[in-house]
Symmetry: C2
Subunit: 339 residues, 2 copies
Amino acid sequence: MGGDHAPDSVIAGAAQVLKKYPNTRFIIFGDENRVRPVLSRHKSLEKASAVHHTDKAVRDDDKPSAALRGGKGSSMRLAIEAVQKGEADAVVSGGNTGALMAMAKIILKTLPGIHRPAIASVFPAIKNETIMLDLGANVLVDAENLVQFAVLGAVFAKAHRKIAMPNVGLLNVGSEENKGPDHVRGAAAILSHVDFPGHYHGFVEGDDITKGTVDVVVSDGYAGNIALKAAEGVGAMTGYFFKKAVRSDPLSLLGSALSFMAFRRFKKRMDPRLYNGGVFLGLNGICVKSHGCTDAVGFASALTLAVELVKHGYIEQVAQDIGHLMSQETFLSEGSYGD
Amino acid sequence: MGGDHAPDSVIAGAAQVLKKYPNTRFIIFGDENRVRPVLSRHKSLEKASAVHHTDKAVRDDDKPSAALRGGKGSSMRLAIEAVQKGEADAVVSGGNTGALMAMAKIILKTLPGIHRPAIASVFPAIKNETIMLDLGANVLVDAENLVQFAVLGAVFAKAHRKIAMPNVGLLNVGSEENKGPDHVRGAAAILSHVDFPGHYHGFVEGDDITKGTVDVVVSDGYAGNIALKAAEGVGAMTGYFFKKAVRSDPLSLLGSALSFMAFRRFKKRMDPRLYNGGVFLGLNGICVKSHGCTDAVGFASALTLAVELVKHGYIEQVAQDIGHLMSQETFLSEGSYGD
């Protein structure tokens, strides 16, 4: 029920994912009267799906606290509860981000040893792709939180990009050791010494996200969210000025028509729909947030992230790696400043 | 002596600025044997310029502390000293940023009432342009520092864009009042009540920089620097993938050749050279940092910023507005948390 084009885009996205992963089964939470007619247009998906009826939905403008209080029986809450009960392996929603995070935290809870969950996404980069977290679940974090994010991100990179030993960098204002705020330098001190499921690269800067310098960029949610939005803004502005420039004279318009193959190639590499999906990491269950305004292709990307994490056994792997991290307690307390 | 193409790009840039502002006079600090031959190719500029010889230069990889200790008599230090002595109205350099900031702080000092200087730049936006600060002079700041940055930025907007009452926003992770770290919320509490030379808009997010939602975006140097670099990274990646896509088939290449007018229009609106120049605000003197790797057009942009600030009487205006801010002390102490 979440997002601008639901349930159509959600169901069409699920149909695409079923073709790629034929063993996937879906439980669709929402208004049966709206879901059934759309589902009947996708026969294979209809067979692979159960519909769990509810006409209650969290609204986009509900505050997280209101959604927690009044959200009982809503499609969002029921879907998260299905993961908690073991009826589903993952939940994917295009609804209200704040409400989804608040409910997922309360119902699924964080994994033992993880103090805070983080939101991660995959971004295009000149070299490969970059996984970045936290994109805004936490404004203030301490050094230990960042180290836990490094583990969460590294295991995500293993699942998503099948890399044995992902390179992990800490987002900072410079690459020199003495640069940046205490919590970032504190995390660097810990990551340089502990054994974790990745290789610690050192500090990276904002432009390293798109350069692809490392596989995983770790940040607090304050700088991470601002960097993400600033990057999205540049993308939107570039597109706006480019279209405007092309449409201002007929020769350029003709030229751009001839360049259709280039535009297709370009779009394929940078298409935000192919990178849709914010994964909530650190919870005892897999929860993925899709952009509300995406289409079937975008929703399929978010679903694919969930399927990949389930197939990889993400939760079990993280639980094990966090346990190993905690067993190296000396390093953690030595390097832990900036709380 | 600073930057990759000095002294050629510096001198050619000055020649461009002299055409636009014929009353400008230049003092060029550097190796006379390298400066004179280039200067002799620009007759009007040669007449409007004095050359102050020194063969000592701060290197790009010098640490700020080393530049402070060993930089006596260097072109950078002499140029800053000329401002301090009143021989020059402003200094513009393409050299080492950290060294320039450290020397400028020591020699020019901050204005009374300003605790820390900030680095500001102008950025293209869909609607008009956006001035943003701090881009990395300070990692950690408190609420009062951000309020002072708001004054520094608002007066800069008046000088640069001739706006009577610039809109000022605080960079944050959301627009709701309860969002964000203490120092940002503290600054919001103060700016909502004090009389300062702008209109306080509220919180803005990363994508508001390029939307042009406000005239001035105020941030600490941690988030500000990361946002700036992330934005630059997206620009670089977009250009890279676009060129690659166009060059991959002959029809697209032909199409892009036909679109030359569109590319020219697009470039004119987004050309980073036209937005070159980081202005050090809050010091008792005007100091502008040019990108080291820019050309004459880029260096002319940095020089133009300096000329505009001088013409506007920036220092005197800020001194007056900061004095007025300090006279409203009650608000400052009420709203001042997050230190």
